[in-house]
Symmetry: C2
Amino acid sequence: MTSEMNQRILLASRPEGRPALENFKIETVPVAEPGEGEVLLKILYLSLDPYMRGRMSNARSYAQPVAIGDVMEGGTVGRVVRSRHAGFAEGDIVLSHSGWQSYAVARGDHLRKLDPAAAPISTALGVLGMPGFTAYSGLLTIGQPKPGETVVVAAASGAVGSAVGQIAKIKGARAVGIAGGPEKCAFARNELGFDAVIDHRAPDIAAQLAAACPGGIDVYFENVGGDIFAAVFPLLNKFARIPVCGLIAQYNDTGPRPAPDRLPGFMREVLSRSLLIRGFIQREFADQRPAFYEEMAAWIASGQVRYREDIVDGLESAPEAFFGLLEGRNFGKLVIRVAE
Amino acid sequence: MTSEMNQRILLASRPEGRPALENFKIETVPVAEPGEGEVLLKILYLSLDPYMRGRMSNARSYAQPVAIGDVMEGGTVGRVVRSRHAGFAEGDIVLSHSGWQSYAVARGDHLRKLDPAAAPISTALGVLGMPGFTAYSGLLTIGQPKPGETVVVAAASGAVGSAVGQIAKIKGARAVGIAGGPEKCAFARNELGFDAVIDHRAPDIAAQLAAACPGGIDVYFENVGGDIFAAVFPLLNKFARIPVCGLIAQYNDTGPRPAPDRLPGFMREVLSRSLLIRGFIQREFADQRPAFYEEMAAWIASGQVRYREDIVDGLESAPEAFFGLLEGRNFGKLVIRVAE
């Protein structure tokens, strides 16, 4: 028996365009008991990521949507409070995918144990977790930057973009970032070491990007979609590679955009410049995870990779924080601190 | 000194949209003398290929356009009539890139000697030449069909499409072709062994294609562009591959097409289905040519690959034959017989 209560946030309805508070429902229910092979987790951190906008919709995607009335899904870091799995003891810190709630029952064999002495445990949701691995696997496997090449990435101060730029630098490429506002631009240039950073709010972004990429663009890591791509496209070099992991700028679109139809021209350039475009989800590269954990931890230890977290307190803050994420109001990897 | 005269066809002006006779100029000039290391060729066959439409325009492409007043470029098979290169003797049959003319001087080290006993020499411009190698390299390197997968290709009776379908079958995949008119469809099904062939003139092509691909499409070899892609796109499976080698249906376009803009939706599907799109030109895979010559010759010998040529007599017929090619009026690999 347990006296703890579980606060959880459900998907109440599917948004048309921009999501709103009415699409969520917050409720409090008794904590469940773990069965054989399961553990009960007290959630400490909840990751908020752009892909969650896709899970709120019914549109065809790489994953099933969250059902109406179900807990919103999401990556989490929790502490084991009761264990019925031999591999876990009370007090262990684990990575799970428990969603937007303060307690969760999880199968032990789906969990990864974290070492709190090795790195702040919240980084398992960011630079040492899914976003970092998205950057690592997509950039190295699809983008394949070579020394001296130019890599461009948007949301350069964010969880994925910051890792893309810094890994590009480690591989000897030039890193050009795009970010929103002077603060993020300065951070990407001065703290993350991007060679150039452009403010996407600038009216002449295409001209600025061209000036920052005098040798053209060899890799465009697409994690935002929308208008940035229009500025990138004319600068792509022959044999340029475009890993596509996200299109946050389009996620709230409700229908096709107005004329002209850019698809035929796009295909013409794909042909004339021998471009590679490849959508991906990091989990298809799961066999690279051990190498990622090892390399990324070493890069962080050596200072070659830095990261910034934007930590917001309280599970009830998650919906508003998520809206901000979709509009670029966060500054660094957005994480909800569910409990101390 | 020589008394032969060279008939040649020059690019007189750049077409706006559909090319016309006025874009060409035919003239007769004295045959040039080969210098040291060169040979004089009497051209026997001239290949006509869709890419030539691109060379007539100034638009950015993977190759320089033909200059106004220059001989139209093109692959050719010729007979050595004078040689100043130790590797070639009078009477040798060689593959060259001599363009739309009846005689040409060529550097010996740019030529490939053909064995007339091994295969009809015109096939060096088709199934055993650039189009066949386009099919081979693009399908195997980018498309990578696996046994049981479904490969779709348009212009299925043409030089590239016919090889794509038959190589797909050799690799254990299902081959679904698209062709124009009942004659070409019957040929692709009965002679080339496609599992299903759809007439692109049918009003319900999308429905027919869906019925012919009950398990979806794993590889779409894009050699036509335009409307076919719209029928293919909804059927693409997760991790589908799209080698892009040509867009003949768009080559005469003069500007962007009307609304809506399909590019954002395209990128969304690239992401949600982890699609791979890759433009290519066969020469980037030049190191595969020895394997291609060997394998393709063996497949032809065993009957696993068949081919059809559409041979038109007379260099002066080249412009009209080329217009027909752009409209799909040829039936098989289009070749001009310049001399007997």
